[in-house]
Amino acid sequence: MARLILTRLVLFVPTLFAASVILFIAINVVPGSAARSALGVDATPQAIMRFEASNGLNRPLAVQYTEWLGKALRGDLGTSFQNRVPVAPEILKRLPTTLELAILAFLLANAIALPLGALAALRHRGTADIAISTLATILGAIPSFWLATLLVLIFSLRLKLLPAGGYTPFFDNPRQNLTQMILPAVSLGLVSSALLLRIMRTTMLEVLNSDYIRTAHAKGAPEWIVITRHALRNALIPYLTVGAVEFGFLFGGVVVIEDIFRLPGIGSLVLVGIINRDYPVLLGSALVITIIVLFANMLVDTFAGLLDPRQLRPREAGR
């Protein structure tokens, strides 16, 4: 087990490095765009040159990247073009909000997908299956930002049950914090549950049709033991892998949902970065979200490997 975890950690480093290169290139894909964007379309060539010189943007891209990476490894993600404050502390301040939103939404998505997906498979082609599959189809087509808008319209403006925005840190006032997080988490979680629901149903169906389940039934094992011990456990492995990918998608949704509910998280910082044309802010916040997503993927990959050692064999055989 230790070797498995170590291997995953070692592989994580080059992945992270490559991700940072991609982000850096993506932001600088058009040469000079940082200065032009920061100063506006009417900026004179002289102003652009001055801006590039003062921010070190006139050097080759590889040099800029090396310097940025060196500082990033020491925890320095640069200084905002806009207000000259360091980016890293601002991201750290906003990190708990984003993590809380993502985790709450992910928990909700799984709380819906796991039981309903399993139930749909157990009642295959029955009324429950049709109802749950229809629900998954509908949820899969609803944009999270539209759902958020509708939820605000119904629960905040019409029924006046929940706040339409704002954020109180959890440790300042847990009750108020959770009340404020209900609508954002539901908007993200409901939409995310669609894919997870379909995956749970499909994997559970495959498992229920396998020989060892038939054998367990033939040996007279009680139904609930067959379902919980044999079927669910095996269905969870592919489900987990897709779950990790969905967690990544969910982080993409965070950018939009934080904007709608005025949550001071990293997602809204990404938008601040792009609206103010503040590249250090944009690059730093995008990098932190990417690190969280890649880390979650690695964790799930490792966990799935621990649950099912067969997944490791092809790679080990190839070495």
């Binding site: 932001i27 808008t149 998608f249 993409g252 709608i260 792009i274 690059l283 995008a286 990417t290």
Partner: protein, 277 residues
Amino acid sequence: MSAFADYSVRRHGLLTLGVALVAMVVLSAVFAPWIAPYSPYDLDVAVMLEGPSRAHWLGTDELGRDVLSRTIFAAQISVKVALFAVGVGLTGGTIIGMLAAYCGGLVDMVLMRLMELLFSFPAILLAVVLMASLGTNVLNAMLAIGIIFIPGFARLARASTLSALQQQYVEAARSIGMSHSRIIMRELLPNVVTPLLVEAAVAFAYAVLLESALSFLGLGAQPPEPSWGNMLNTGRGFMAQAPWLSIVPGSALFLCVLGFNLLGDGLRDMLDPHLRD
């Protein structure tokens, strides 16, 4: 009727519904100038934020523009963005995936690791970052969304090419001395195109969603050009007094995405029977 037959009828019905919804969106986009009752840009301050009426079936917006007409014209942006973005993703992904599978070895490893890495980025985040550099407009939104689609298509193209490479007709083509480019274009491409086209239908739905999300954030289509995303963004400011500004474009977006999803699922079921439950 047996449960299985009942289930098959339902699946067929869903595919038909998908085709109908997609047809409705595409026809709205193509014939928008003829079917929309007003121009999407016509301002009328006398009817600002008016609810649904005989003159304006789905109400008017904050500048007195007809919401129904703007919703119909917005279909043009969605279809245009989806077509272009899926085209970029499909072309780029097919070339990369087929090249990786055909060359194998180091080329395969480097290309596919890069694709895996791109795939692991949250799509909206990558689109936002790309648009920061490219600039915020519809064309760049199309390009950014297209780039995001490349890894998905590349993985599928690689898998299909690897499977096709095992077939005897490829061996036969090699043995008669056919060039690499002819083998790829004549023998492999026709055999990988079907699963890619099915994936394209699903990608269409996602492209429409992404474009709307970008426009909602103010990064895609810019006002006064109508897009479901920027209409929803405008509607946010008038939710209490004019909820139709959020409900109408959102419903159109939902129906469009639902249509492409159902179409993609149905095509996948039809063309790849072992995926059926």
